[in-house]
Amino acid sequence: MDGLTPAESRELDQRLQKRQVKEFMTVFGNLVDNCFTACVDDFTSKALSGRESGCISRCVLKSMSTQTRLGERFGELNAAMTAEMQRR
C-alpha cells in the first residue's frame, strides 16, 4: 500500500480525485433513482405535487444521513478487518 515516490503519489492523487468525482456522480444518480421511484407515482400532471416535492426533500435528507452513518460504520469495520488480516 505504501512505498510510493512523490511523483507516484501525485499521479495517484489525480486518479483518486477522478474516482471521487465518478463516485459522487454514482451516489447522486442512485439518490435520484431512489427518491423518484419512492416518491413520484402520480402522472396526472407534469409538475411535482406538493406531496411529491416534500417526499423527495425528506428522502434526500434521509439518504444523506444514511450515507453518512453507513460511511462511518464502513470505515470502522474496514479498519477492524484490515487489522485482523494483518494479524493472521
Binding site: 459522487f24 447522486f28 416518491c39 409538475a47 435528507l61 450515507q67 453518512t68
Partner: protein, 90 residues
C-alpha cells in the same frame, strides 16, 4: 452541471471536460428511460404500440424527472455547503 470557472485548460482537459459533460447527460438520459419505462409501460405487452395513456404518462414522467433532478441537485448543493463541504461522509 456543476460549472467551474478555470483559466486556460489544456487540449486534453478540454476534450475530457466535453466528454464528461456528455457522459453525465447520457447517464441522466439512461436513468430516465429506465425509470419512466417502469412507471408508465404496461408489462404485459399485449400491444406493440404506445397507448395514448402510456404516451402521456411518459411525457409527464420525463418532465417530473427533470424537475426532481434539478430539485435534488439544488438541495444537495445547499445541504453539502451547510454541512461544510465533504458531504455524504465520503
Amino acid at each position: 452541471m456543476f460549472g467551474l470557472g478555470r483559466p486556460q485548460p489544456s487540449s486534453a482537459e478540454k476534450i475530457a471536460a466535453v466528454e464528461n459533460e456528455l457522459k453525465v447527460v447520457a447517464e441522466m438520459h439512461s436513468r430516465m428511460v429506465k425509470i419512466c419505462t417502469l412507471k408508465c409501460i404496461d408489462k404485459t405487452y399485449r400491444e406493440g404500440e404506445l397507448s395514448k395513456g402510456e404516451s402521456v404518462c411518459l411525457d409527464r414522467c420525463a418532465a417530473k424527472f427533470f424537475e426532481a433532478h434539478q430539485k435534488i441537485s439544488d438541495q444537495l448543493q445547499k445541504e453539502t455547503q451547510a454541512r461544510g463541504g465533504g458531504g455524504f461522509g465520503m
